[in-house]
Symmetry: C2
Subunit: 380 residues, 2 copies
């Protein structure tokens, strides 16, 4: 076991505790699905817990569109923002870091340390920007496989992820049959539908029509902040639900602002959305947003393999697909369909539907039913 | 009967035929809900069919956010675009212009000939822009009442409308009890919910953050075309449904464009949305979009009258509320709730739910079940 694998230890509070990221620098050439090649790439990642002596307790976590490698614990005493799945991952939690060695990497094409459009192209000394190769979900998974090999993992105990992360989970099962013993895709789809493509297109248009986008050639630290914020505000609505928003915000007003400009913020929900937009532009790269939404749009297992049944034919893992009743971005049916296709090919698959009214983001919230499901699936 | 009332006559094809609009210029002062006053206003309107001798066969049609006064027939041999509800309104159609005298006006605050933010303020000789008073649904209805009085209509046989038009229908019933004998609100709500406000806010932000918006002071013919197109593209998705879009567009691709710019149109649904955005900016004023979306957001009958039951207490009309199963902008429940509140106050109300998978826009499409429902309600 090397040093990086024991870095993240539970602290006294029962949390993963302070974690630091590591960079995996792959110097082998990497050929993208579209035929383009890079001499190598970097994946930034974090690990939590200890690898066991047989190296068989590793769980890979795959992140969604706006996520990153920081899925559990906190980075430093100054940056106390916990990882995005901290409620699910940690000592004694459903993904129990006392028992499992958990790995999560920023996806290829990302902007949080992994190689992506904002990275410097060694050939030019300038950021790749739109010269970065188009990235697919399968590219992300094949890059993750190199990291997994680098960590010396002969197999994965499980691969877990929601939304775009769930697509990666499915692709792992198809690309490397049997390598992961368990697959746990949530709030996802085997095939991006028309409505989801449409929302992504509006977001991309908001970014690309912003004069500061400059055909993708904005300088580091600059870029289409207005367009990216609008894309994020709109997308954020699709992550919630009508009922959830009515419960959380309803028609509550902020303090009246009679002297203020017309059409300024009035309802709480407007203030919340603007905050979501503004905080996003400080942590996310607009070009990565274009690349990742296209990766989502092009994800269609049935088209790639002839049919969904043929796609899952190679899967040799136990699969639990999880849908959420109020998720209208990747509705329950689309998750159930994954399990049904597997069952039609006599695979070990099941489907669970969780009744939560928080929309697509339900997979990210603390919910006893989801906790029990994940814990049970990992113990099985 | 005056000349304007007989202008639109059925032609040989069974359509309303060529129609021309009229301008009703009201020279009486008008006090808006927010206390601001204008010396008068203009409403542009169309009529179809003939007023009967007792003047009791008039039906008022109320339009939605992006609609206008041109709801049936065609304007000229050169402009063959039929009215937006031409499938429902015409000789022998459910709103039968052989039998009814149909009136439809562009709402106060609009941009298709009625007084709105793009109209010239007589006091300054410049467009009102954001100096136009904030418009409410009730303001729209009270302006329409002046037109109805001008036309010499002692009562209305019915008031019909969907979406924002449905809100006006409800407000007509409350504001002028018994004046309309029948109210037919469709695909609407008595209270704009949090999600609908959120989508409107993103649209407004897209407009207001466009540098060409210029704090609302763009010149006539100019304006935030990019922002307005993005607002429209996004809103258009909310008018459709997941299933409807999958059936209409699925994941169909346009011709491959390998030499084209990256992230250009690839899927049919993207092309459709961009067309919707582009055609909208040529016919709609961005400031009116701000005003109308705010009118929607502020519509809350329960808040305005204490409760929904108290709001509908004054209604003295037969009411049929119609919801559409796939409408997720103003879901069926919100339409059923209107009828239930009326029934709790022993009003003559019913609710019909139509199974169509075209989303919010279902009320605009030709559907035998809706036709029968409207015809039956008007014959009752």
């Amino acid at each position: 076991m090397n040093a990086e694998q024991v870095l993240a230890q539970p602290d006294a509070t029962g949390e993963v505790g302070l974690v630091v990221h590591r960079d995996f620098v792959c110097t082998e050439p990497f050929v993208f699905d579209n035929g383009r090649e890079l001499d190598g790439f970097t994946l930034r990642y974090e690990t939590y817990g200890r690898l066991n002596s047989t190296r068989t307790n590793a769980i890979l976590i795959c992140h969604a569109l706006s996520g990153d490698h920081h899925c559990a614990g906190v980075h430093s005493m100054r940056d106390r923002k916990p990882g995005w799945w901290n409620n699910l991952i940690g000592p004694g939690k459903p993904v129990d870091t006392n028992r499992f060695f958990v790995v999560c990497s920023n996806c290829l094409g990302g902007c949080q340390g992994s190689t992506g459009p904002s990275s410097v192209n060694p050939a030019t000394g300038q950021p790749f920007n739109l010269d970065f190769p188009l990235v697919t979900i399968r590219d992300m998974v094949r890059a993750q496989r190199r990291l997994v090999d680098h960590l010396g993992l002969p197999e994965l105990y499980a691969v877990i992820g929601g939304s775009m992360g769930g697509m990666q989970v499915l692709q792992w099962g198809i690309e490397y049959p049997g390598f992961a013993r368990r697959l746990l895709p949530m709030a996802t789809t085997a095939r991006q539908g028309s409505q989801a493509i449409a929302f992504n297109e509006v977001g991309r248009q908001a970014i690309m029509q912003d004069p500061d986008w400059k055909q993708g050639n904005y300088l580091p630290g600059e870029g289409p902040r207005v367009g990216l914020a609008i894309a994020r505000m709109m997308a954020h609505i699709t992550y919630l639900s009508d009922k959830g928003m009515d419960r959380k915000f309803g028609r509550r007003r902020r303090e009246a602002n009679p002297g203020g400009p017309p059409f300024d913020i009035d309802f709480e929900v407007e203030s919340y959305l603007r905050y979501q937009g503004q905080s996003f532009i400080n942590r996310f790269d607009a070009n990565t947003y274009l690349y990742f939404t296209r990766a989502l749009d092009y994800f269609d297992l049935a088209d790639a393999y002839g049919s969904l049944e043929e796609a899952v034919e190679r899967v040799d893992s136990r699969v639990l697909a999880v849908g959420f009743t109020s998720d209208w971005l990747f509705p329950p049916e689309q998750n159930r369909e994954i399990a049904l296709a597997l069952l039609r090919r006599w695979k070990d698959a099941s489907y669970a539907e969780i009744r939560l009214d928080l929309g697509h983001d339900s997979f990210l919230v603390e919910a006893p039913e989801l906790d029990r499901l994940v814990r049970g699936f990992l113990e099985s």
